[in-house]
Symmetry: C2
Subunit: 599 residues, 2 copies
């Protein structure tokens, strides 16, 4: 019996005791729901993830997708079987409107449920998640016809979706994409260009693949202001929903990755003439929304995907944590330092302080990250369902500020958790006989895709904390201050942590002001990654204080664990931000001044 990949006990605590997601059911949009329906989805997800996803995680890693002799992508059959189960359970459409066949499930509950699949099998779980995001963009910005043509098939899992942003010469720099979209007399467009790093870009898992493609309409503005968004299906879809001709989207190659091997990652050519039955030039595409506003539409998907990456990193970290706890409890090795008798029996690894340190660090990282992700997901629910416009706006603003952290912090620290999980296993953890080495390889992707770590730093310091006159940062400060006030009143250790947190929040404010005082973006942003990491630690410290308040003085091993992990975070982790703020306050120019020749 392998260790579970996620803790239902923890999810219940976070969703029900802390975030009180059941209160959402008082709102009209979620009125059909209840604790019972939420539990049902969580139970179902744990069950499906365990029975159909975890079971082929290693096999999918060892047998990565390949291009067969017929040019089609071959994937082990377990992937399709698992995804069929997933779709049949209605999980792709769960958070969508009932009018689209969805369940109107709160995103916070859905994310918790999805984390089971991410923890069980990062590679296989990516396909439906991309599809959900894709369908959400079409449902939000598409015409009635576009919605009816594509969204139901996506939500049923008959079609899967992708997001096509990067090109070989344009990764982080989307301003430099060169894929062209030429308008046609019938209102459609013809696209030509090459897209790189397209996850789920080709496969035989579904009847059709719906690509959302960033491209430029000739004559439009230069740079990102001239980017439009197009729906480009692999097979054209007739008015009655049946599949028509093959569109000119050609698989050029698969990328062979260190981890996350179960998800095909592709180089695609649009309009290179591989599939042109009628001699047409270019792949047929349909403009989504208005021309030249493509990037803003894509950001709906990008922001969702960034939170999703945070959850993926968290889930992998969590699975590794639980496996290493299990291993540390059962594997015996060595003796307590005080025991000098070599004939006494060896003790479980968990008896050694250094092993506990490694377990506590993992716990502090993965439970902190999970709580942060669920908090952000609850903000999505608030933004969608809060009664008054101001509350919706505040939720959206806070989510904007937190998104780069919810993406980057788990990507960094839950990878570190996976490294510690390997370390707890010793040599065994470095072998493919155990799972943790795969988690570590899978997780390393998360600092790269959907905006690299560096891009998140620029987003946080260069946009999010200064937008709307700093309103987002101010709101974060107020929100944390409310927690601090509560924690002070609670007394004891919690009050001490509150004091530490308050001081750290002050530093976030003063450092941000110092960095921008000279209004010199180059200098302000020179160490934006350090800023991102420091603010991330402050935010997660706050999330831990929130968890402690929710735990109150309840007794039992679960709550003792929460208190120990919080203590670890406040003693071992939060103090790391001191030197980071000092460095930032010094307006250090080391990275700016070095000549490229000096490397």
């Amino acid at each position: 019996m392998p260790a579970p990949v996620l803790s239902r006990r923890d999810l219940d605590f976070l969703l029900y005791d802390w975030l009180d997601v059941v209160s959402l059911t008082d709102r009209p949009y979620f009125a059909e729901h209840s604790r019972e329906t939420f539990d049902g989805i969580l139970d179902l997800s744990a069950d499906l993830a365990t029975k159909h996803f975890a079971t082929h995680n290693k096999k999918a890693d060892a047998n990565e997708p390949r291009i067969g002799e017929d040019g089609r992508v071959e994937i082990i059959p377990e992937v399709r079987e698992a995804l069929d189960q997933f779709a049949k359970a209605g999980l792709i459409s769960a958070s969508f409107d009932e009018s689209l066949g969805g369940m109107q499930l709160p995103v916070s509950v859905l994310r918790a449920a999805m984390a089971w699949f991410q923890a069980a099998n990062a590679g296989t779980s990516s396909y439906p998640f991309l599809t959900v995001g894709n369908a959400n963009v079409i449902a939000t910005h598409g015409t009635e016809e576009q919605v009816s043509t594509f969204v139901p098939s996506l939500l049923e899992g008959r079609f899967f979706g992708t997001m096509c942003l990067s090109e070989p010469q344009a990764g982080s720099s989307l301003a430099d994409i060169t894929t062209k979209a030429i308008p046609q007399d019938d209102g459609t467009y013809r696209l030509t260009g090459t897209k790189m790093w397209i996850s789920g870009g080709d496969h035989e898992l579904t009847e059709n693949i719906v690509h959302l493609v960033l491209a430029k309409i000739p004559g439009g503005p230069a740079g990102v202001k001239g980017i439009s968004l197009f729906i480009v299906p692999k097979f054209l879809v007739d008015a009655d929903g049946t599949l028509g001709e093959r569109n000119d989207v050609a698989l050029v190659g698969l990328n062979h990755k260190m981890g996350n091997r179960g998800t095909t990652n592709t180089l695609l050519n649009f309009g290179d003439g591989s599939f042109t039955p009628d001699g047409r030039e270019g792949a047929v595409g349909y403009l989504l929304g208005e021309a030249n506003k493509g990037l803003s539409y894509m950001f709906l998907l990008m922001n969702e995907a960034r939170i999703g990456v945070g959850f993926l990193a968290t889930s992998l970290g969590y699975a590794g944590y639980l496996q290493s706890v299990e291993y540390a409890r059962t594997r015996t090795q060595g003796r307590p330092l005080a025991d000098k008798d070599p004939s006494s029996p060896q003790v479980p690894l968990v008896e050694h302080a250094d092993v506990r340190r490694m377990l506590l660090a993992q716990k502090a990282y993965v439970e902190g990250a999970l709580a942060l992700g669920l908090y952000c997901s609850k903000l999505v629910d608030e933004e969608r369902s809060a009664a008054d416009a101001d509350a919706r706006d505040r939720a959206g603003l806070l989510l904007d500020v937190l998104t780069p952290i919810a993406k980057s912090w788990p990507s960094q620290w839950c990878l570190e958790a996976n490294s510690l999980a390997i370390q707890v296993h010793g040599g065994y953890g470095y072998t493919r006989e155990f799972d943790v080495e795969q988690f570590y390889r899978d997780n390393r992707l998360n600092q790269i895709h959907e905006g690299t770590h560096g891009i998140q730093g620029l987003d946080l310091l260069g946009r999010k904390v200064i937008m709307r006159g700093g309103a987002g940062l101010a709101l974060l400060g107020e929100t944390i201050a409310a927690t601090v006030a509560q924690a002070r009143a609670a007394g004891g250790d919690i009050a001490e942590y509150a004091q530490q947190l308050e001081a750290a929040v002050v530093r976030v404010g003063t450092t941000t002001a110092t960095l921008w005082a000279g209004r010199d973006p180059e200098l302000a942003l020179a160490n934006s990654s350090v800023y991102l990491e420091a603010v991330g630690h402050v935010v997660v410290a706050w999330i831990w204080l929130e968890q402690l308040l929710a735990a109150g003085d309840r007794e039992g091993a679960f709550f003792d664990g929460k208190r120990a992990a919080a203590q670890f975070f406040y003693r071992f982790e939060l103090p790391k931000t001191g030197p980071q703020f000092d460095l930032l306050d010094s307006l250090d120019r080391t990275t700016l001044d070095i000549s490229p020749d000096a490397f």
Copy 2:
């Protein structure tokens, strides 16, 4: 033309300008050598590593050793070809006495030369390195007959060597090994037991394999005090040096690892009856040195191997650094923050501050680690060749204190360098089309083997800094103080760094005293890994100051780079130790007090 895997310019600076290894040639033992012979070895190594080792690094990773139908280990043929070249060049015996066919090359020069092979191909380079260590133990502790029977064949590369310590139930806890050695009437022993994690434990690369095996002679003391060391060859060797019968050492299985796949890593059975032509029971073994002193003999090899692991980690970090510099200089992406014109050409990655931060961090880690490793290797030379006994003793003492750091610091920070090398490459770095993902996987091993990170922490804080009444720590302090004094006199930035370093060294002393004030090992050692990491950073800060003093005020990109990397280390890295010392000074009990149930 791929980027070089190591910088000869840096090696020259460190060996000649800083460590002045040519001065060793004034001593009788090294009198045959000169700058020219050293250069010759370095040139030869760079050439062989580039032509014969780097060329199959990826192939060996993709085609790991397997057990063929005949039960033999199959390894791609390039490995043997490369190792034949290595042996033919006399590199296995290079540091050995001339009487054994060696060159009496200083270890510092040899390590620099070997780093080329480690950087080019971690997997293939391990075989001769294990052989060197193995031969060194036999040459040091063996009888005349043992030496003449095994050492020449090892040094010629006709035999390869292993070290067999761990067992499935005894990894870090060597007190718990159960392999038994029964004395025979003819003075030999018969060994039975199972050994785990044996690198190079079986293969067809050489005619024979010489295992050095820890085992217990029944009736001896319990625990580590009853461990003896045995020579157990795969094939018995007749008096005239010809190979005799197959000894009863059986390959049970190969471990399948995340990285470092080129080195076979094996589970071996000794004396399980697989090979017993004459019906004898047990594998034939020859006691090395005295009974029950095996662990102390093995520590000669272990200490050498720990420095070697540090070099392996460093070399992999260095290779990744150079590749990411090359990539950052040639790959264009985005524009300077001040450039708002999207039609202007994209700039090389190296123009972005965050990319420079990632390159500078790598540079600070890998060049700091290389310098530390070479410094330690020079201490080996001093210990071996210094004229007066006191100087030899001091060198040995300082080496003892530095060994856990020379092993663990590169294993941690050069792995981080590899992660940053991936990050500089973006998505490409996560693919197997580039080398950096392999470096990262290969490097993750180094925190585990030859004593885990946690074991190094216990060694440093629990033994090395308190042994001989703290003489080792005092000597380290004096040595650093001498550098500080020189740096103060130099003025400018260097003097500022000296002040920072001096303050950090004071903290090492006070924290060590605080931790041991209660004479409670459990409490003192509760956070020994944190201590290891903090002291490691202080030591590397000192090593950087040493490099700056050696650079003086010389001009040019190389020296500018050294100054920038040192600046980075003093501004971004050394301050991280502040919170670590604070934590240690608080005698924190978080890791001790948590109940195992609370995870």
